[in-house]
Amino acid sequence: MPMIEIDKVSKWYGAFQVLKNCSTTVDKGEVVVVCGPSGSGKSTLIKTVNALEPFQQGRIAVNGQSVGDRGTNLPQLRARIGMVFQNFELFPHLSIMRNLALAQTMVLKRSGEEAIERGLKLLDRVGLIAQKDKFPGQLSGGQQQRVAIARALAMDPIAMLFDEPTSALDPEMINEVLDVMVELAKEGMTMMVVTHEMGFARKVAHRVVFMDQGEIVEDAAKNDFFGSPRSDRAQTFLSKILNH
């Protein structure tokens, strides 16, 4: 059973259809990169996986649990799926330590000491243990995003979703974040990543999904996608993005 199943999902904003019959899966341990031009719906698609965005048609399941189902306990489901945002979204009024511990104590009901211990371990893993008592406003973008990844990992997720994690970073900080993500992939985390960073895709992705205007146009193994993309749109997109 795949870890993430997206089955014929469609979504409308009023009369405008933003997702058109999208279907794909992510197996356990797989890394899937979702790419495409702006407005293709890739961010919207990834936000439907943990129900941050509702959808009108289709079915989404994470580890067998249906996301759109009325009976699903959403907070508990979301606690098991980690999400990293384009704008980091650390809580600015809390210290780094408290950012890491907050959801652990409130949602997973861990004890304070356990939450702190876990948080420190992950902070160390992303190389930022020295910043534990600082506030988000005092850190650089790259540092904030690494803390955000640690915050998501502190919940012991079964899968991680990344929504353009490096798009808001200055160029010199992109690599420090990508390195953390590469490590994560090598350890076998199930990852769904919306990104423009094709170097990252080439290194660790198993599959690449290409979206355009709300549809999934191509869904191929990495080498197939980069070697011989089948659709014209994918070819155009790749040529624009790779010739930078």
């Binding site: 606690a79 979204e89 809580f91 919940m155």
Partner: protein, 230 residues
Amino acid sequence: MFENFDFDVIARSWQALIFQGLAFTAQVTLLAMAGGIVLGTLLAMMRLSSFKPLAWVAAGYVNLLRSIPLVLVIFWFYFLVPYIGAWIIGAPRPIPVGAFTSALVTFIMFEACYYCEIMRAGIQSIPSGQANAGYALGMNYWQMMGRVILPQAFRNMTPVLLTQTIVLFQDVSLVYIISLPDFVTIASKIAQRDGRLIEMYLFVAVVYLAICLLLSHFVKRLQTRFAIAR
């Protein structure tokens, strides 16, 4: 010009003035601020709720009370509260409510409308990504509001909330119309008793001026220290 004035009257009655009158005003202000901010925040959350009937009720209440003069609101609650009290405890006749309670209920219910608009702006100014991040971590609505959104909204809005409290402090003077013993009413009684309107009213004006100037100066200093770095 000032030869016939008797500023001694201030010295003679200052105890009654300061301790009773100003204390009454200050007490109503502080309690109404606390109650008003709590009720106002709830009203703001109701207005922003996706459950439409709740949003309409809150909006209707806030817009109604902001459209009529405070003088009229004070009369309304002065007459209404005894009836509502009777209805709550099932008494057959309107129950007499103390002056202080009446004033308190009035100002909490009235100022809550203004605090509501302030908190609504504050909540809306927090980027939606913050709520998303909270939800993505598995928090429910109340956890997210209580730990992520409201702390930030309060911090951002503190100067505006305090400025509104200074306005509230001045508004309390209107209890004069129902003869509650606030600073202005007591000064007025003394003025009429001793025939010294000028000295008393000038004194009242100067005291208000001093207190409000001090408070707004304090709020301005606070404004620089309260910004959260993003």
